[in-house]
Every structure is written in structure tokens, then in C-alpha cells.
């Protein structure tokens, strides 16, 4: 009886161990009541980086809106392949090609590694040179492509970069998007998590996150500066895509507002296609080299 109890206890520990060691790629996870802040955030990162899908293609548009209401727009075609490959440590590869006339053809290829301490490898196709340039990694606190997002907001922040405290559960108050005036997620049950960066000093002192209990998506966050004042809000709309009988939570709209400058950035993702069987050789220098623009 004792042995059976020990065996059951050991089995009960396995999910927790798996979470601590990192979630298996190509699975769909959802957070549950009773999970720790770390477990919830591992799922949040898993969802953010679409580690459930083998590949994804989408068309993105970024709108840069200044305080006076002036709008600049940039359009991209984005492709990602998820690998989670231990032999060369590659987590996923991203290819982003600009389709806006001013920068048409400019493309970035990024390989992101599973080792949290390792920076991504990046290549840039520069149309004015007709050439590929290996580029040094941007600083995590740099602006992401001129938006109000930082590079780590979109690309490089990892679970290991912060410490987490579960502050409780609540029904989300709802967010009215300034871009399309729609209100999202009103009354949706969420975990509220406080995330503090391990780097100190850093450009923010903490983030407060609202994680949707049904999907694990981080739908809203508030960023605080070193004096403890809120200076930025980020909203992410998630929609569920059913692919091969799996429910993939997918970011379809992001809105970030800088409360200090009044500037905001909106990113919309359309025409999203998962698991098309993309080949890895699409994510190579040779692929960038084929750019015609």
C-alpha cells in the first residue's frame, strides 16, 4: 500500500517536473487553478512563441500612431518554423519580409535558441546594398522595428529573465482598443501575475500581467518604471484557431500605449495559416538571397 502511495505521489509530481524542465513542443497547454506563478508563466511564454505549432505564416501590419493622431503604416509577411531541436539548440526560426513600398523587400532572418542565455542569430537583407548582412543582436531594451514594443517584448524575453508572483485571480475588466474601438475580454477569468526582471537596473521595475485562464495567453499587461509609476500598457487579442483538432491560441491584434509620450503602436496579424509543412531550408541565408526587391 505504501509502495502504491509512493508511486502515485511520484506520478503526481511528474507534470510539475515537466513544467519546471520546460514544456514539450507541439502540445497545447492551458493553465489551471492551483498552478504556481512559474507554471502559469511557462505556459504564457509557450503560447506567446507558438511552440504548439510546427509552422505558421501570417501577414502583419504595424501602425505607428503619434500623439496628434498621425499614422504611419508598415506591412510585413511573417513566417516561423518551430524546431525545439536539442542537437543544435534551435528553438525556432523566423523570417520577416517588409512589403511596404519604402522598405519593400527588406528582410530579417532570426534563429532563436533554446538556451535562455544565448542570443539569437540574425541576418538582414538590405535592398539598397542587394546584400545579406549578419547583424549583431539588438539590445533587449531597444525599440522593436521602431515601435513602442521593445525587442524583448516581441522576440527575446524568456521565462528565465524574470521572477513571478501570483497575485490572485480576477475577472478582467475589459479593454477597449483605440484602433478599432472594440472592447475585448470583459469579464474573462484571468490569473494576475507580477513579473520582476532579474536584471537590475533595468528599464522597467515590474510588469503586471493578466493571463487568460482558458488559453494561457497574456492578454494585458502594465509596465512600471523604476520609480514605480505605470508608463506603458500592452493589450493582446487572442483568437482560437482549430488545426488538426488542436486549439491554437493566436495573437491577432496587439496594441501598446506609451503613457509618457502618447505614442502607440498597433500590430494586426491576418491570413494566419498553421502547419503548412514548411521546409526548414526556407529559413536560410539562401532564401534571403533570393529577394528580388
Amino acid at each position: 500500500m505504501k509502495k502504491l502511495f509512493l508511486l502515485l505521489a511520484a506520478l503526481a509530481l511528474i507534470p510539475g517536473y515537466c513544467l519546471a524542465a520546460g514544456l514539450e513542443y507541439f502540445q497545447v497547454y492551458t493553465p489551471k487553478d492551483g498552478m504556481s506563478a512559474d507554471e502559469i508563466m511557462q505556459i504564457e511564454y509557450f503560447v506567446k512563441y507558438t511552440r504548439f505549432a510546427h509552422d505558421v505564416k501570417m501577414l502583419g501590419k504595424s501602425y505607428f500612431v503619434d500623439k496628434a493622431g498621425g499614422v504611419r503604416e508598415k506591412a510585413t509577411s511573417r513566417t516561423r518554423i518551430t524546431l525545439g531541436r536539442k542537437s543544435d539548440d534551435i528553438a525556432y526560426k523566423d523570417l520577416v519580409i517588409f512589403t511596404t513600398p519604402q522598405v519593400r523587400g527588406m528582410g530579417t532572418l532570426t534563429w532563436t535558441y533554446m538556451n535562455p542565455a544565448k542570443q539569437p542569430d540574425s541576418w538582414l537583407w538590405i535592398p539598397s546594398l542587394k546584400k545579406i548582412r549578419k547583424i549583431s543582436a539588438s539590445n533587449s531594451d531597444d525599440s522593436f522595428l521602431g515601435s513602442d514594443f521593445t525587442v524583448e517584448d516581441i522576440l527575446t524575453r524568456k521565462f528565465e529573465d524574470e521572477t513571478y508572483v501570483l497575485k490572485g485571480s480576477e475577472n478582467f475588466k475589459g479593454y477597449t482598443c483605440e484602433f478599432n474601438k472594440k472592447t475585448y475580454f470583459a469579464g474573462v477569468p484571468c490569473f494576475v501575475i507580477e513579473a520582476r526582471p532579474k536584471k537590475s537596473p533595468w528599464y522597467y521595475s515590474k510588469r503586471m500581467l493578466w493571463v487568460d485562464k482558458s488559453t494561457g495567453g497574456g492578454i494585458y499587461e502594465e509596465k512600471y518604471d523604476v520609480t514605480g509609476r505605470i508608463y506603458q500598457t500592452i493589450f493582446k487579442n487572442f483568437e482560437i484557431f482549430n488545426v488538426n483538432n488542436k486549439a491554437y491560441p493566436t495573437q491577432t491584434l496587439l496594441e501598446v500605449k506609451d503613457l509618457r509620450t502618447g505614442h502607440r503602436t498597433v500590430i494586426t496579424n491576418d491570413n494566419i495559416k498553421y502547419d503548412q509543412g514548411l521546409k526548414e531550408d526556407l529559413f536560410s541565408e539562401r532564401s534571403l538571397m533570393q529577394s528580388r526587391w
Binding site: 505607428f64 503619434d66 504611419r72 503604416e73 508598415k74 511596404t100 513600398p101 519604402q102 519593400r104 535558441y113 542565455a117 544565448k118 542570443q119 539569437p120 542569430d121 540574425s122 535592398p127 539598397s128 546594398l129 542587394k130 546584400k131 548582412r133 549578419k134 547583424i135 549583431s136 543582436a137 539588438s138 539590445n139 531594451d141 531597444d142 525599440s143 522595428l145 521602431g146 515601435s147 513602442d148 505614442h263 503602436t265 526548414e280 531550408d281 536560410s284 541565408e285 539562401r286 538571397m289 533570393q290 528580388r292 526587391w293
Partner: protein, 459 residues
């Protein structure tokens, strides 16, 4: 025949049958204006208006694609400024022959990628220094100030690529087309000093019969080249080889009558000779934690076999002769983003001309001439570039400063700012400041330092 094929292809592109998301049309209108920095009130050196149109048609998704790009420009400064009158014909020649920038068919399937047609191919990792980037000739009408896309003169070629394994590529180029590299015509802002002195000399003679002989249009006169690219660990590398005609002609000058002084008659024959490039390049980003994390290192190495090099005294417009030497050029570069948004990039390299001092008449000084600018070069020319760039206002305002030169000292300092007024409208303001002696590549333009602006509308 070429033109007929082009016209048919272009008509097809613009036909209504090709409408839909398989066809993409893009382009820009641009005005470039520059003023000599020493006399802003009057000395307009460029008022160039450019229109570019590019069309892409996906015949079969991404597997079979036709692409073409055309450009026409007109520099009104040659009309408005009396002193450039004599350069009008030559400048006009550039705009007449340079209109077709790209025209090719892409075939992409599995491990194969073929690009057949008029195009440019860029090799190497160096910025602004042509170590391996020598597949296409260069248009140096505006010295090295244009973007490299505009500097390269496209050629008709077969560009055949095969990837035997992931992240590798074997590229084979067959280039039956030939164009010579062009420099600025006489009486233009960037006419080389040696060309001006040559013209002075020519006018002083009773007669100079000039002949230029281009390579005959035969398959064996094609340029052949290959590049192997691969990755070992975090290191990307290439091996390169090129065998083709050097894009600058060699002059042979023969005294026909007279004593060699003024009022003699001469025969100047210009021909092109083959040479070879053996090269390699690499790049590596340090991604693992440590003091070098965030650095990207890159480099090019080129060994030029039989590269034609002039030598003589540029100050008295004397070319003592030409040698076909085995030369070496290498560049190492490092890039890093520091603080927030400040991107730094530095390069150092050497152009090593094999013979330390050419043999020539002792009555004159003998200098080696840079093969592109005909400025004097040291037997071992130390080259450096440094670039810093950043952006403000959500990437709307960008600032950059580029400093390049050699240890002589001579070089160029080029700060610029650009501002995105609207999505499609980009304004740029900048300065090119040249310094050095009159004999040097950059120093010969020390009176041509300029303030410039451009307005670019993209669609």
C-alpha cells in the same frame, strides 16, 4: 533581339491578364540635389530626378517568377551649369544605357535555384569596400557615394544555385555579358584628377588616336565564377573563385611621330585582360554569454591574380606603365549595438600590392594608382571605416555618420539624417567632406565636399 524580348515581357507584365495578386508593381520618384560646400550660393553640382519602376509576376507561385526593374534619370545640373556643358554628352550616355536594372526569370524548386537574366550579384561581407564584391562592374560616376545597388552595373548572366544540404549553397555564375566600369565623364564633379590631367596632355599634342577594344562576344570570353557557402557551428563562411575580364581597360600608349614632347602624335590603345580572384569570407555573431556577447565579426579575403595596376605620378598625369600583379586585399569588421539603439560598426583592412615599388624612369616619382579611383596608393594601403547610427521618434528620424579613409591620411566623413515625413515620403540631408592630398583617392575631391539632400516618394 534583347530589346524585343524585353518589350514583350514588359507588355505582358502590364497587360490586364496579369492583374491580381500574382503581379506586384512598385517604384519610386526621387530628387537628389547637391551643392559644393565651399560656395553654397551658386555651385549646384547635382539636380538629379529619378524614376524607377519594378514589376514582379509570379508565373507559378514562388517556383517560377519574372522580375524586371527599370530606371531613368536626368541630371539638370548639366544643363544649368555652364562649366558642365562639356560633360553633358557623357552624362547623357549613362542615363541612356543604364535604364534596365533587372530583368530575369527565377526558378526555385527543392535544392535548385536559378536566376537567368540581367542582374547583380553581391559577394562578401565588407561594407563599402569591394574585396569580393567584384562580380559586376561599378558605375563610379558619383565616386563611391551611391548605394551599392546603384553602383553595380547589372549584367546578363546565368546564376545557378544548388543546396546539397541545409544552410549550404553552391553558386555557379556564367556571365557572357561585358560592361566596363565607368568613372565620371570629363568636367563632372567627380571626374578623376588623372583623367583631367590626361585630357590636358591630350590637348597639348598634335594628335592622339584613341582606340578601345572590348572582349569579343564569344562564350570563352565569359566570366565564370563560383561560391560555396556553408556553416560550421556558429560560423558562416564562403569560398569564392572568379575568372573573367577586369572591368577597367589597360592603356598602351605608343609614340607615332615627334619627340614625345608637345605636338607629338600618339596611339593610345585600350584593351581588357583576364584576371582571377581566389577569395573567402566569414561572419560570426557571438551569441553565447561572455564579454564578447553581442558582437558580430565578419571578414573578406581576396587574392587577385594578374590584376592590372597602373603606376606613375598622378600630379603630372604621368602613367609610367601598367603591371599585372598578384595582389591581396582583406577586411575584418566588428559590429555591436551599445546602449540603446546606438549601432557601431568598424572595419580595418589592407590592400597589398605585391611589388613594393614599380620600376620606372627615375626622373619622376612613381606611385601605384588605386585601380578604381586612380589616386595614389601605398604598396600596403591600410583602410578603415567606422560607422555609427541610431534612430529617434520611433524610427522616424535616423542619424548616421560614416568615416572612411586610409592612414595617409585621406578620407571622407559623411554624416546624414533622414526623416520619414509620411509612409512613402523620405527626406534625407547630409554632407560629404573629403580630405587628403590632391594625389589621393579621396583627396582629389577635397574641393568637391558637398551638402546634399534627397526627397524620395515610394509607391
Amino acid at each position: 533581339m534583347k530589346k524585343l524580348v524585353l518589350i514583350v515581357a514588359l507588355l505582358l507584365c502590364f497587360s490586364p491578364a496579369f492583374a491580381g495578386d500574382r503581379f506586384t508593381l512598385s517604384g519610386y520618384l526621387k530628387n537628389e540635389l547637391s551643392l559644393r560646400a565651399e560656395s553654397l550660393n551658386s555651385d549646384l553640382t547635382k539636380f538629379k530626378n529619378i524614376i524607377q519602376l519594378a514589376g514582379e509576376y509570379k508565373i507559378k507561385d514562388d517556383e517560377l517568377v519574372f522580375f524586371t526593374k527599370m530606371r531613368y534619370w536626368y541630371d539638370a545640373a548639366f544643363d544649368w551649369r555652364d562649366k558642365y556643358d562639356q560633360g553633358q554628352d557623357a552624362a547623357g550616355h549613362v542615363q541612356r544605357t543604364d535604364w534596365l536594372r533587372d530583368c530575369y526569370l527565377d526558378y526555385n524548386r527543392d535544392s535548385w535555384f536559378l536566376r537567368l537574366g540581367k542582374q547583380q550579384v553581391a559577394w562578401g561581407q565588407a561594407d563599402g569596400v569591394a574585396v569580393l564584391d567584384r562580380v559586376n562592374p561599378f558605375d563610379l560616376t558619383e565616386y563611391w557615394l551611391q548605394d551599392f545597388e546603384d553602383l553595380r552595373i547589372p549584367l546578363w548572366m546565368a546564376n545557378i544555385n544548388y543546396a546539397p544540404k541545409l544552410n549550404s549553397n553552391l553558386q555557379f555564375l556564367v556571365i557572357p555579358d561585358f560592361e566596363q566600369s565607368t568613372s565620371a565623364p570629363l568636367y563632372a564633379p567627380f571626374t578623376t584628377y588623372s583623367y583631367i590631367r590626361y585630357e590636358d596632355w591630350r590637348k597639348a599634342q598634335a594628335g592622339v588616336d584613341q582606340q578601345i577594344y572590348f572582349p569579343a562576344q564569344k562564350f570563352e570570353n565569359s566570366t565564370f565564377a563560383f561560391q560555396w557557402s556553408d556553416r560550421i557551428g556558429d560560423l558562416n563562411y564562403t569560398f569564392n573563385y572568379l575568372n573573367g575580364f577586369y572591368y577597367s581597360a589597360r592603356n598602351f600608349t605608343i609614340l607615332k611621330t615627334g619627340t614625345g614632347g608637345p605636338n607629338s602624335t600618339w596611339q593610345v590603345t585600350r584593351t581588357f585582360k583576364r584576371y582571377e580572384i581566389y577569395g573567402s569570407s566569414f561572419n560570426k555573431s557571438v551569441t553565447n554569454p561572455g564579454p564578447l556577447q553581442g558582437f558580430t565579426f565578419r571578414g573578406d579575403f581576396g587574392y587577385y591574380r594578374d590584376e592590372p595596376i597602373y603606376y606613375g605620378d598622378p600630379l603630372i598625369a604621368s602613367s609610367s606603365g601598367i603591371k599585372r600583379w598578384d595582389n591581396i586585399m582583406w577586411i575584418l569588421g566588428a559590429d555591436k549595438t551599445i546602449f540603446t539603439k546606438l549601432s557601431l560598426s568598424g572595419q580595418f583592412g589592407q590592400y597589398i600590392l605585391q611589388h613594393s615599388k614599380p620600376n620606372g624612369p627615375t626622373a619622376r616619382r612613381n606611385f601605384i594608382f588605386n585601380p578604381y579611383t586612380y589616386g595614389s596608393a601605398d604598396p600596403v594601403e591600410n583602410i578603415f571605416t567606422f560607422k555609427a547610427s541610431t534612430n529617434f521618434m520611433n524610427d522616424r528620424l535616423r542619424a548616421e555618420v560614416l568615416w572612411s579613409g586610409t592612414d595617409d591620411p585621406q578620407g571622407r566623413l559623411s554624416p546624414k539624417v533622414s526623416y520619414e515625413l509620411k509612409d512613402n515620403l523620405l527626406l534625407t540631408l547630409g554632407l560629404h567632406y573629403f580630405y587628403g592630398s590632391l594625389m589621393d583617392s579621396n583627396g582629389q575631391y577635397r574641393d568637391q565636399s558637398q551638402i546634399y539632400s534627397s526627397v524620395k516618394y515610394s509607391f
